[in-house]
């Protein structure tokens, strides 16, 4: 812009112009860092944690935090993409338990060679749930919120019904592997989450399909007018989201060594909390995967610090909620923009 203004328009008075440019510049720079408003919060938590316990800043402890959060992080990644596209998926939390559970029922621990199919099957189940959600929401034009709320109950209901509510302990090696293995000294689940987040960050930043999510979330009519196949993209996102939740289930199963009937139950609140404090808007079109990741980290660090500090059980929730509120305010002040 700026240079060749047609001569018909008198150039703005010298006083106004620099001010205008300054503002634009500031906006731009802020825009860059809008994903990162939680960074000051993370810094504060790291400092506080270091004071609370010398163990906190050790590699071992921080690795633990990352590993503990990796399954949740995958669900956050899924939800962040869905939210950016302007939709909801509450059923992800049920998929986390149900997909591996059904997989184990189909492929028992004794299956031998076919045990290698366990993870693909599990991802397929997750994807199928996502596809069914997409079908109801897009073809039946139902509200994403209620559909996935009902599906959250249905999917968990299937889990309960088919397992009879029992925890599953006898699992095929292949499904246990990822959650427990260590690659190059770092838990595999951290590698997996890192790779997928990197893919998410790059995908949503540098690929047309990723940008389409923002367009759809920001103004679906305009996206359609711009030639984006809105329904197809949304459907794909639901399918990917379901598969990510199923993968989160695999990691969690491996970490815990069993699948309880409650696996994943109650996660969705944390998932939304992480996404939204990380700057992803519930209204769609706004936020980044990187931001959502900072949200996950904040939540993981808070939990870790509280555990290390040994806050008495009955006060833990209060402290936890209070810290999240404060984190919100800090990020609001750092970000400078009203949230929505």
């Amino acid at each position: 812009m700026s240079t060749a203004t047609p001569s018909a328009t008198p150039s703005p008075p010298p006083s106004a112009a620099p001010a205008g440019r300054l503002r634009a510049g500031a906006g731009l720079r802020l825009g860059r860092f809008r994903d990162l408003t939680l960074v000051p919060v993370i810094v504060v938590l790291l400092v506080v944690g270091a004071f609370v316990d010398p163990v906190f800043l050790t590699v071992g402890n921080l690795t633990n935090v990352l590993q503990q959060q990796s399954a949740l992080a995958l669900v956050v990644l899924a939800e962040a993409m869905i939210l950016i596209a302007g939709k909801f998926d509450l059923s992800l939390e049920s998929t986390v338990g149900m997909a591996p559970a059904i997989t184990v029922l189909v492929i028992p621990a004794t299956a031998g060679g076919s045990g290698l199919l366990a993870i693909p099957l599990c991802l397929l189940i997750g994807a199928a749930i996502g596809a069914f959600n997409g079908f109801l929401i897009l073809k039946f034009q139902l509200s994403a919120f209620v559909v996935t709320l009902a599906m959250m109950i249905v999917v968990h209901g299937l889990h309960l019904g088919l397992t009879g509510g029992k925890s599953l302990f006898e699992l095929p090696e292949s499904i246990m592997y990822l959650g427990g293995a260590t690659w190059l000294g770092v838990p595999a689940s951290i590698w997996i989450a890192a790779v997928l987040f990197a893919a998410g960050i790059v995908g949503l930043r540098y690929f047309r399909a990723g940008r389409a999510l923002y367009a759809i979330g920001g103004n679906p009519d305009a996206a359609r007018a711009a030639g984006i196949r809105v329904d197809r993209v949304l459907w794909t996102v639901f399918v990917i989201g379901g598969a990510l939740a199923a993968l989160a289930g695999v990691l969690e199963t491996g970490r815990l060594g069993g699948i309880s009937a409650n696996q994943g139950v109650g996660w969705i609140f944390m998932v939304f909390a992480a996404s939204v404090i990380g700057g992803v808007s519930m209204d769609g079109g706004k936020g980044t995967v990187l931001g959502a990741l900072t949200g996950v980290l904040v939540i993981g660090l808070v939990e870790n610090v509280l555990t290390l500090k040994g806050v008495p059980g009955e006060w833990k929730q209060l402290v936890y909620g209070g810290i999240i509120l404060v984190a919100l305010m800090i990020s609001r002040v750092a970000g400078g923009k009203a949230q929505d």
């Binding site: 060749a4 906006g27 540098y206 923002y214 030639g227």
Partner: protein, 493 residues
């Protein structure tokens, strides 16, 4: 000349509304073809059909004699036609650059090259003379800048057929002139265009032929040169309509709106103005002159850094709309979509929002009284609607604008501030809107009319001209277009 685009016998219904009823259009290769009609005539509906956003219920669309692509094949549509829609298709959460190249960002190996996107965006903006930072968030732009971005985007596609649905409704003179220059250049390159506007003089300026729709039907198609102004208006309205005659009146003694020492950083400085009862004052200025910001301050939408505002002699709390309304103010905001109406609520409810307290006691609102008031307003302002219960979101643009004016006039205001009241409004509606403003003034209200349109300003008793945030001149009635434009552009002191 061969026919480039053709729509035949198109029928389109929205529930009970028939938006197009066997209408058609035929646009010859390389011409700039105007589509005219009153608000709600079905123009934008035809646009959405010609651009493949909606399928017609009946009828067909042909491009160069070939059937239009399937609705799902968006790429094929986009190769054939580019469009500036009437409703914004800007995505507010994305940057200007990205909006310009949405879904066609330059990539290499599948990866978007942001540097190239930004560079090309700057080029496009520069080529079309849009003074906007490519990196700014589109949501932070004003209506006008947003519209310019949309235009630049549509023109930058390189399509052989371009539709512009009321592109100039939010633009000021120089911006319109720049648009026309671009359109002429494109026509020289053989690009076919369909142009929709409620400014008939624009049609005479750049179009070769014109099609008129009335009540969802095709009425006539004719070369512009063979169609005198009155005949065109008659075709649109279905009857002979006299040109609007500004009325004369004498201002009263009491002051309806007064401001002293108003300043708002980066918008305007040290403004003083006074509008007397029974007086209609215009406020003009080129883009970014601060006129809208000033008007918004007067009504309480913005809060000035310093200065005082009095409405009917009462000092109003700065930045507080209710206190301005209580003092007897009515106003039409600049962007009807943003501040003008609640799309899901009915015409009746939108029009009576500020007077809800007068439609029943003890905090209640009587639906029957509300309806009665609304029916009256619909009649007074000739709003084309299914009835007072229709959501405003379903109205055509011009009719929605009338609802906003109805709201401003609902409380028999003693002071009136209207910002671009005739944006997107058809010739006849424009007359009735201006008539309604003049009526209010005739009943003793003091009105400030902010507009980019010289036609609107002509009814004013005097025009205040702003330049770079200051009121520089007070021009009495009887100015010529050139004179006023010269003042606005700061060419004359």
């Amino acid at each position: 000349m061969s026919v480039h685009v053709e729509a035949r016998n198109v029928v389109k219904r929205f529930g009970p509304t028939v938006a197009l009823n066997g209408a058609g259009i035929s646009i010859a290769e390389g011409e700039t073809h105007a589509l005219l009609g009153r608000n709600g005539a079905g123009k934008s509906t035809l646009v959405s059909i010609l651009t493949g956003l909606q399928a017609p219920d009946e009828g067909e669309v042909l491009f160069s004699g070939e059937a239009a692509p399937a609705l799902a094949d968006r790429d094929a549509w986009r190769r054939r036609v580019a469009c500036v829609y009437q409703k914004s298709t800007i995505i507010p959460t994305l940057t200007v650059a990205e909006n310009l190249f949405l879904n066609r960002q330059r990539t290499s190996g599948g990866l978007i090259r942001w540097g190239a996107v930004r560079r090309e965006a700057r080029e496009v903006l520069e080529r079309y003379g849009v003074d906007v930072d490519a990196g700014a968030l589109a949501g932070d732009l004003g209506v006008e800048q947003r519209q310019l971005v949309e235009i630049a985007r549509a023109l930058s596609f390189g399509a052989r057929f371009i539709i512009l649905d009321e592109p100039t409704a939010q633009l000021d003179g120089p911006a319109i002139e720049r648009l026309f220059e671009r359109m002429r250049a494109l026509r020289e390159q053989g690009v076919t265009m369909m142009y929709i506007s409620h400014h008939l003089d624009e049609v005479y300026e750049i179009c070769q032929s014109v099609t008129v729709f009335r009540d969802a039907r095709h009425v006539l198609t004719r070369p512009v040169a063979e169609l005198p102004h009155e005949e065109l208006v008659a075709a649109m309205t279905g009857e002979a309509t006299a040109a609007y005659q500004p009325r004369s009146r004498t201002a009263g003694d009491s002051v309806a709106i007064s401001a002293t020492g108003l300043s708002l950083r980066d918008r305007y400085q040290d403004v003083a103005l006074e509008v007397r009862a029974g007086e209609l004052v215009g406020l003009a200025g080129s883009g970014s002159s601060g006129k809208v910001g000033l008007a918004e301050t007067l009504v309480g939408l913005r809060r000035a850094d310093s200065g005082t505002i009095r409405i009917n002699g009462a000092a109003v709390r700065p930045g507080d709309v209710p206190s301005a309304l209580r003092a007897g103010l009515g106003f039409v905001p600049q962007d009807r979509h943003r501040e003008g109406f609640v799309p899901l609520l009915s015409v009746a409810e939108n029009a009576t929002l500020p007077i809800a307290h007068k439609l029943g006691g003890f905090g209640t609102v009587s639906p029957s009284r509300r309806r009665a008031r609304a029916v009256q307003m619909i009649e007074d302002l000739d709003i084309k609607t299914e009835g007072p219960d229709q959501p405003v979101g379903d109205l055509s643009g011009g009719n929605a604008q009338k609802v906003v004016l109805a709201r401003a006039l609902s409380d028999s205001p003693a002071a009136l501030v209207v910002i671009n009241p005739t944006a997107g409004v058809d010739v006849k509606a424009k007359q009735s809107l201006l008539g309604a403003v003049e009526d209010a003034v005739g009943r003793g209200a003091g009105a400030l009319l902010v507009s980019d349109e010289l036609d609107d300003l002509r009814i004013c008793d005097r025009v205040l001209v702003m330049f770079h945030g200051r009121v520089v001149r007070d021009v009495p009635r009887g100015w010529s277009d050139q004179q006023l434009v010269a003042v606005m552009e700061g060419m004359e002191e």
